[in-house]
Amino acid sequence: MGTSPHSESDSDQVGAIGRVIGRLGDYQTKDWLLSRGLYLISASVLLFLWIPLIVMLLLSFGENAITIFPFEGFTLDYYVAMLNDERLLLSAWRSIQIATISATIATVLAVPASFALARFEFPLKETYRIFGILPLIVPGVVLGMALLIYFRTVLGVTPGLMTILLTHGVYGFPFVLLVVTARLYSFDEALEEAARDLGAGPVATFRDITLPIIAPAVAAGFLFAWLRSFEDFIRVFFVRGTINVLTTTMYSMIQYGASTKMNAISSIIVIAIALVLVVAVVLGSVNQFVGDTTEDE
């Protein structure tokens, strides 16, 4: 039965089945199925990325903090408990300070390095590029333990705030480098030449032409490096000494089963970072908008 998928029907009994099978082999049906299948995968993947975070958000308000069913009512107790946990808030504040300083270190080092990679030819340039991206690729465990051993055994430094800042300076470097070099490669150097030809000095050219063009990329790179430092656990875990940052405090909270406060602080972090990103995106497009209108004048 159904010898050829395209034959309409050989007999009455198998006719219906044959038609369905025939339709399956049909060019358009196959395309339709394929595209629906792809949409289904994409939608499920987006759902997959969000579901655990949404569940966590729900649990942070749930009387029953472990699971959704059976649902036992809403509460804000965990948020109150979290806000009364001085140790947690202090470590969060320390994380913010560390992220700001180390992202500054990364930006100050990586912006000139991006110019070198985009504008100059020099020996071992590609080696330097790989070298600069390496902190992003090396797993945190390896970078953390290598730096700890280096600080403690080679340099004889006691791990603490300083070693955390130096470590995160290395870790944030590639994020600034990648974003800023990408911007510089798409940069039309004729703009700078035109400014110089029209009599602007190098300082004025940099201030009026180069800086405004690369500023959004530098800001994005800084934000990237900041977030990486803020969320890092494993590198800090090795080089922190006795200092506690937000992630290490959270780690011990999970280890010792303080899950109710964990839900609350985690939800706040998710929302705060979402807000920061939305603001960054809006500011970014405002900048672009301003840039466009000035070009029209």
């Binding site: 579901i51 797993p139 333990m145 280096y150 300076g169 970072i273």
Partner: protein
């Protein structure tokens, strides 16, 4: 000429030479990376071939003892605990990479065809979880999995299963799910970058000229996306292989990955010689992975992040 402009012009004269400019641009970061990246990594490579005595002094005598003791066991070396840890880490990392690629490809395709508000919405939906603290995301999966985790209790509450399902308990499947969730955007953005600007009418043209679906995919889509796929695979495989928090929380002691082994050697014993030797296997995996990747792509293609 006032003082300020004199200083300015002197400064400018100093930086006029191309080589000096290069030195100023690259010098600080070069020194920083040499001191805080190359030196530490070189040191642990060296220490992996040396031994530390009981008073934490390094004995300057090249030896393979650290590697020997890692692979020592009653029987042949593949029966040692360390070998099984490496193999398990490798299996988890490879499975994570393959599944991530399969899941990311359709989404990257839809992202590259989307426009305007739909595109922005999709991008935000992908990037937002990505920028959320890694520890928080692993923690959210800690809530989902487990005997009494959200997945199992929800299934039971709806009567879909009478008891907890082992698949949704902590272990290798949970770790793989956690790692996919952690590194998915790396793959997506890499593949998307290679599809961005791709002229999709080429696919229609190939089909019109009689090429089948598989041939079109093989001859047009694969060559275009290969750099993105390879760099995406690198960015998923390497951190998965060296993962730490994910196996700790989602393995709950049932699974031991190489990253956990390093951490335990350092934190409890400060055994820098053994820990360095273990770290060599992660470094080796990175070198091999990059060696394979650079046969197909250039360094520039790694910028897809």
């Amino acid at each position: 000429m006032n003082t300020l402009s004199r200083i300015q012009s002197r400064l400018l004269r100093t930086v006029r030479s191309r080589w000096r400019q290069l030195g100023i641009a690259i010098g600080p970061s070069l020194i920083y990376l040499l001191l805080l990246l190359l030196a530490p990594v070189t040191f642990i490579i060296t220490v992996s071939f040396l031994q530390v005595n009981d008073s934490y002094q390094i004995v300057l005598e090249p030896t393979l003892e650290n590697y020997n003791s890692l692979f020592s066991s009653e029987g042949p070396f593949w029966e040692s605990t360390f070998f099984s840890v490496v193999m398990e880490s490798l299996t988890i990392a490879v499975l994570t990479t393959v599944i991530t690629l399969v899941l990311a490809f359709p989404l990257a395709y839809h992202l590259s065809k989307a426009e305007g508000a739909v595109f922005q919405l999709m991008l935000v939906m992908v990037l937002l979880p990505f920028f959320t603290v890694y520890l928080v995301r692993v923690y959210s999966w800690l809530l989902m999995f487990g005997q009494n985790g959200v997945i199992n209790t929800t299934l039971m509450a709806f009567g879909l299963t009478s008891g907890p399902i082992e698949l949704f308990n902590y272990g290798v499947p949970a770790i793989i799910v956690g790692l996919i969730h952690a590194f998915f955007p790396y793959m997506l953005l890499s593949v998307y970058a290679s599809l961005d600007g791709f002229n999709f009418s080429l696919i229609d043209a190939a089909r019109d000229l009689g090429a089948g679906r598989i041939e079109t995919f093989r001859d047009i889509v694969v060559p275009i996306t290969l750099p993105g796929v390879i760099s995406g695979c690198l960015f998923v495989f390497v951190p998965s292989f060296g993962a730490f928090i994910t196996p700790v929380f989602l393995g709950q002691g049932k699974v031991l990955m190489i990253g956990q082994l390093i951490e335990s050697r350092i934190s409890s014993l400060y055994a820098i010689d053994t820990a360095s030797a273990i770290a060599m296997f992660i470094i080796l995996a990175i070198v091999i992975a990059f060696g394979l990747a650079f046969r197909y792509i250039d360094v520039e293609n790694l910028g897809g992040v």
